[in-house]
Assembly symmetry: C2
Homo-oligomer: 213 residues x 2
DNA sequence: CGTATTCTCAAACGATCGTTTGATTCCATC
DNA sequence: GATGGAATCAAACGATCGTTTGAGAATACG
């Protein structure tokens, strides 16, 4: 009866990803998810254990690859004298743009990421921080090297704001339809350029503490 | 039994604002709201008619003043030869920063606004577009004047991305605690400066269509 | 003061939520 | 082809959801 080439688990993850992106984690019910995936309602608890575990798995499936790509890109520029702030930002942003370019739900996942930033759910934030906090930490080290005048605390909260704002901006690229005839690839690359300059300007501002005292 | 100096309606609106900010519209139940407001459960439907109407009223209460301030600030710079892009962005951003500075739940509302950007709820988007779309439209007119090389469509979607990203960034200011001894006012003004330069850089990029063809 | 209106309250409504159950089907292995 | 674990299924669980009800308290007005 399984007409799809994908397994039950994969179909659930894909449907959950799409529905979480548009309705949020609380707003999308397991009945909606299982109906969209064309599986039985009980399949979610059978394969994942609970709705919260399903949410975590939606993240894990994409974030593992996304973050290893980010760290690989970071490793190519970290510690070098010629590295500019824009290069580090590119290492963070480009992998997400690549992800959203792949047809298989990647664009939806970027919107799920934006949802996660909006959610102040403590369980979800702890899961993300525990499992993927080391990525942000490694980027922070490199940003600190390139922005020696900023205190570590300030690096962290600027990064949080910047990445949140960028994540939202990237999420919306998945929705807006190109009306011109530029290729999707060109469109995304131009957009990444906007975002990188955007973020660099915010990060490069003089340190708040010394300027204000 | 009403020990608070605020009316039942106001207490509901305040509690709803805070809970929608942290748990989202679907995630915050009317039972949580009425418990926090210390009113009876039925009071919501008595005073507002439904949960959706309550959500709309949470927006209306703040957006009316926020948008009239935005339009007043815009009117002071619109059409003048000396106006820079940064001035128009300041007219959009500063009123929101002012709102978040006022103690009475304004910071929570900015986070509710960020929620609204994350929500793709059609009903909510239509309500906001119907009632407050003219504000964005007037700003778009002025941006179009200052960015004559950009097509109108492109102005609109860049503005949507930019305002979404800025709204998220502003929302997080309410959470991050200042550790230095700068005044709250100075902190916000510096932050606004970051955001304005941020947004100006994104908007000023060369038009995508001509560059890509 | 008596009446009318507004408001508040506890209780219940049907619907939907996440989750669990127990039977049934599928499929690999011997 | 029989056996046993994995997977799927319809059905139901208790909890919680938004909403409604009808009676009672508070308030305004003649």
């Amino acid at each position: 009866m399984n007409a799809s080439p994908f397994s039950t688990k994969e179909r659930i993850l894909g449907a959950a990803e799409a529905l979480f992106a548009t309705h949020g984690f609380a707003g999308a019910s397991l009945r909606q998810v299982t109906a969209a995936a064309k599986v039985n309602l009980a399949a979610v608890n059978y394969h994942f254990g609970s709705k919260d575990k399903l949410i975590e798995e939606v993240f894990r499936r994409r974030l593992d690859e996304l973050n290893s790509r980010r760290l690989a890109a970071l490793a190519r520029v970290a510690g070098q004298a010629s590295t500019r702030l824009e290069d580090v930002l590119d290492a963070y942003i480009s992998p997400a743009l690549d992800l959203s370019r792949h047809g298989g739900g990647g664009a939806a996942f970027v919107r799920v990421l934006a949802r996660a930033y909006a959610e102040h759910n403590e369980t979800l934030r702890r899961f993300l921080s525990d499992n993927y906090g080391h990525v942000l930490r490694q980027f922070a080290v490199e940003f600190a090297r390139l922005l020696p005048d900023l205190a570590k605390d300030e690096i962290y909260w600027r990064l949080d704001i910047v990445t949140g704002a960028l994540t939202y901006a990237m999420a919306d690229f998945g929705i807006i339809q190109r009306k011109t005839e530029v290729t999707e690839r060109t469109h995304r690359e131009q957009a990444a350029g906007h975002l990188i300059r955007f973020a660099a300007a915010g990060l490069r501002n003089p340190p708040l503490s010394t300027a204000a005292r």
